[in-house]
Each structure stands twice: as C-alpha cells, then as structure tokens.
C-alpha cells in the first residue's frame, strides 16, 4: 500500500479511570474512504478529537503525510490539509452560505489582517468559494443565510466549507446524522464523487451508507479497535457481528 496519508499508532486516552482510547492504530490512504464505526460510547468522538487536535493523547503518535502532528494545535493541522466536518452542524448562522465558505477559503490564504479592502468583492475568496458550493451541490443557495438552509443543506454546507481548504484528508463526523433517506442518498453520491480529491475518515451510524462508501472499515468497541478490513471482511467477522452488528439486528 502507498504511504498512508494519516496514520495513528498506539493511541491511548484516559479520562480518569476510563480508558476511552485503548491502544488504537488506524490509517487512511490517499483516495481511500476509511469508515470508523462502533456503538454509542465506543470512543469514536474521542478518537477523532485526538486526530484533529482538540484532545491530546496520553500516548501514541499521529502522523499526517509523513509528519509528526501529535502535538500540533487544531489550526496548524487544518493548514497542513486535515479538514473536518462536524457532528453537530456548526455553520455561521448569521452569514450567507457563500460567506461561510469564503471564510473557510480565507483561512487558508495567510493572515487576515487586512482592514479596508472589501472581502465580498475579492475574487480570490469568492471564486473558490462558489466552486466549493457547486461541488457540494449548493450552487443555487449561495446567497441564502445559513440559518435559512434545511438541515440537509447545512450538512452540505459543512462539506463545502471543509472542501474550501482543499484538504488532502477529510474527517467526516456523522455527515448523515439526522438526514432523511433521500438526503442521505444525495450525500452518499456527493462523498463518492469527492473520493477523487481527498482521502476520508468517515464516522457514521448509517450502515447502508458506510457499506456503500467505505473501502475499509474499522470497528471500535469500548475504546478498542476490534477489527479492520474490507466491508465484506467486516460483515463476515464473528467478533464484529457479536459485538456490534448482531446487537443492532437483535
């Protein structure tokens, strides 16, 4: 396999007596969708926090395109190309969809200590922002206030904002959460198309989406990665069926 884009080795995170991340290793190759699944409380969010930099692991190493990023703060990792979308929709509600994405573009163009020039007329911000909106399927809603978008559209906006930074890896924290069947189907199509551009680590409860999209799946239970493999391998894995899929079927 090619040099992984993101690779975490032996991550451990404790909260008091709780071992939330128990010696987890996970990697994502360029152009790969690697899904992370597991029942509630399995430690998915904790793991993602360590990968994005909001939580510091107690032990282990995180490398991003060959570079040790274990101690880098969030914004430094974002600059290196580690984009993320949020589990809870966190767009800037008082801004238009286009303004939201333009701000995401702006974050990647050096400092913003520019006080006089009108950013709304700045093609270096607006053009890439429009493009990202188009890609995410929101081209026609550019001028709408983010708070006026439907839930599904807000999730699309999240993706557009993540794309604006031209990330090499996208961490998608439950992009289908709260979506109807039709909306999630549209999201699956969107993510499928995005695979060309960047690798993805997908945290998702919607099993249909996971098995439709993922090249590989890692199953997290009680903080431990109990299996990693192709969708077919995961489906056939007895431990997984018992610990997770079986539970859900029962």
């Amino acid at each position: 396999m090619a040099e992984p884009l993101l690779s975490a080795q032996g991550l451990i995170k404790r909260f008091g007596g709780l071992l939330a991340t128990d010696n987890v290793s996970i990697d994502v190759a360029p152009g790969e969708i690697h899904a992370l699944i597991g029942p509630n409380g399995a430690g998915k969010t904790t793991l993602v926090g360590q990968l994005t930099g909001t939580l510091a692991p107690d032990a282990g190493v995180i490398r991003f395109s060959g570079r040790d990023v274990t101690r880098l703060p969030v914004h430094a990792r974002v600059r290196l190309g580690l984009g993320r979308s949020f589990q809870i929709t966190a767009v800037l509600r008082e801004f238009s969809a286009l303004d939201n994405v333009a701000l995401a573009v702006q974050a990647h163009q050096g400092h913003s200590f520019r006080f006089l020039a009108d950013a709304r007329a700045d093609r270096r911000l607006r053009d890439p922002a429009r493009q990202a909106l188009e890609t995410a399927g929101l081209g026609t809603r550019a001028e709408a206030l983010a708070s006026a978008l439907s839930h599904g559209e807000q999730r699309q906006l999240e993706i557009a904002m993540a794309l604006a930074g031209e990330p090499r890896l996208l961490l998608l924290d439950e992009p289908m959460a709260g979506m109807g069947v039709e909306e999630s189907q549209r999201m699956v199509t969107l993510l499928q198309a995005l695979k060309q551009r960047c690798g993805m680590l997908l945290i998702e409860h919607d099993m249909d989406a996971v098995f439709a999209l993922a090249d590989r799946i890692t199953v997290l239970v009680y903080g431990r990665a109990i299996a990693t493999g192709t969708p077919a391998e995961i489906r056939a894995n007895a431990a997984v069926r018992q610990a997770y899929l079986g539970e859900e079927a029962a």
Binding site: T52, H75, A90, Q106, S112, R114
Partner: protein, 329 residues
C-alpha cells in the same frame, strides 16, 4: 458612488444623510439662532459618538462586552493633560502619544482579559477600568480627584481649537473618518473573521483562525479610537478629571451602543444623539410638567432602555427598516 445614491432611497439612508447634513451645518444654525450652548452639546454628542464607534468595534463586531471603555477616554485625555501641564502643548506631539498610550493599554488588558468570555470578560475589563480611574484620582500632582485645567492642543497655522465652530467641525470630520473606517472594516477580511468569531468562536478556530490575535487587534483599534475621543473630550472642556473614566461612563457608552443598534455602522451616532437628547430635553420637559420632577429623569430613561432591550433588540437602527447591508448580524 452609485451604491451611495441607492442607499439614499432607503429610509435609513435618507435619515442618516439628513442627520449628517444637519450635523455639518450645526455651527451655522446655532449661530443664526444664537444658541451657543447647543453647539457645545453637539460637540459632546459627536465626541461620544466617536467613543461609541470605538466600543462598537469590540462589542458590536467582536461580541465582547467591554465594561472598561472609559479608561481609553481617560488615558487619551490625561496624556494630553499631563503633556500640557509639562509645557508640551503641540498637538502634533500630544495626539500621537495619547493615541499610542490608549492603544498600548488596550493591548495590555487584551492579553490579560481576552482569555475570558462573557460576564468574566465584562468583570475583568471593569476591574482594569477602575484601576485606571483610581490611578487618575491618585495623581495628586495633576489635580487628583479635582482634575486638571489644561490648555488646548495647538496646531499652529492649521486650526485653532479654541474656536468652537472649528473644533466642532474637526470632531465631526474625525467621526466621519471613524465611521468610514468601520464601514470598510466590517466587510474586510479582518471584519469577517471578527464577526465570524462572534457568531461561532469554536467553528472559527476549527477553520484555522487564531481568534485570540484577531480579537487583540480589534481591541487595540478600539483603544486607539477611544483614546482619540478622550483627546477631543479633554480639548472640549480644556479640562480632564477622573470622572471621565469612571465605570458610570463605561456604562453610558454601552447604553449608547445598545440604544443605537449593536454592530450597526451608524448605531453609535443614533445612540449618542438619542442619549444626549434624552439627557438634555427630558429634564426640562419633566420640569415643565411639574417643577422638580426633572431631577428624576432617569426614572423615565431607565424603563425606556428596558423597552429597547426587550422590543427593539437591534436598537434605533432596526427601527429604520430591515436590512440594507449595514446591519452586521
């Protein structure tokens, strides 16, 4: 230019234009009707509007309630006063020193207070404001509690600040410059980051913006304009005293900004006008209704503020119509 003309067609644009026009000819009006006192009120309104514009940067765009803003007033004023008392009366020297001092103070309190949020930020800025207030009171060499009579700043050959009309027009020109700057600021890259952080700080951090640095810069800008207002206030009365930086003045500034419309470009001007109009006219009006009632004008003003806070959250600005692009959220 065309957008400027277009904005004249909205009620807000028209009212603002008429207001500015009236302000521009105020010295002529007060002379024609022999109401010199009104010119000095007008000058104070304009100076307070500059201070409110300064507060609007950090409160309106930044979403941070600074309760120590009068300290910038005071530092700007006292810098002029102390230099003047030391025999340095050149405005070319006084003004940059005063603005620099207020800016440095802003950076200092920013470094210490911008790590807190909400009511904690309010309390810590209040504490720093009071610190400056008591420092001023303790300056026995410069009048202590009684304050200090000073000579006005001198700009030989350019402008004589002792001339009331000239001084008023200078203040108005500086207010217009401050408003122009803030209008640009709001939609600049910097302004988008500042307003974005008000809307959702965590999201902005996740996007890769070191929010702290931008807020610090905003506070520094705010301090610079606050210092400027202090310079003007000192020159208006040829007098500085600790009273100009008490927490009551910081509170008045917040009231002006909220009354005018937090985060609205012209909000500080509307707010300052309304504030002084109430202060100047409510008293005589109440006295007219019943002798002695004027003393208690704040009994009327207080509920008025509560009504604005409850029913017109965008302040006076929001009463002038919905959006024309000038409301920043």
């Amino acid at each position: 230019m065309s957008s400027l003309l277009a904005s004249l067609r909205t009620p807000r644009g028209l009212i603002t234009a008429v207001l500015l026009l009236l302000l521009a000819v105020l010295p002529l009006l007060t002379q024609a009707f022999d109401q010199r006192y009104l010119l000095s009120v007008g000058t104070r309104v304009v100076i307070w509007a500059i201070a409110a514009v300064s507060l609007n940067i950090i409160l309106g765009y930044g979403g941070l309630v600074s309760f120590g803003h009068a300290a910038f007033f005071g530092i700007g004023g006292y810098a002029v006063g102390i230099l003047s008392a030391s025999g340095i009366d050149s405005g070319w020297l006084q003004w940059p020193v005063a603005i620099l001092a207020a800016t440095l103070w802003a950076v200092l309190i920013g470094v210490l207070s911008l790590r807190t949020r909400g009511v904690y930020f309010l309390m810590i800025t209040l504490a720093f404001g009071q610190l400056v207030y008591y420092l001023g009171s303790g300056l026995e060499a410069y009048g202590g509690d009684d304050g200090l009579n000073i000579g006005r700043s001198r700009f030989p050959g350019l402008i004589d600040l002792r001339d009331k009309a000239s001084f008023y027009w200078l203040c108005l020109a500086l207010l217009c410059a401050a408003l122009w700057f803030c209008g640009r600021l709001a939609y600049s890259r910097f302004g988008f980051v500042l307003r974005g952080a008000r809307s959702n700080e965590l999201r902005m951090t996740a996007l890769g913006f070191p929010v702290f640095g931008y807020r610090l810069a905003a506070l520094a800008l705010s301090g610079a304009f606050g210092g400027l207002a202090g310079i003007l206030l000192a020159n208006e009365g040829a007098y500085v005293s600790p009273a100009m930086m008490s927490w009551v003045k910081s509170g008045d500034l917040i009231v002006i900004v909220v009354l005018g419309g937090t985060g609205a470009l012209f909000g500080p001007l509307y707010g300052a006008l309304a504030f002084f109009a109430v202060e100047e006219f409510l008293k005589p009006l109440l006295d007219l209704a019943h002798k002695g009632w004027g003393e208690y004008w704040q009994i009327v003003f207080g509920p008025l503020l509560v009504i604005v806070a409850l029913y017109a959250r965008g302040g006076i600005d929001s009463l002038l119509g919905k959006t024309d692009g000038r409301r920043h959220g």
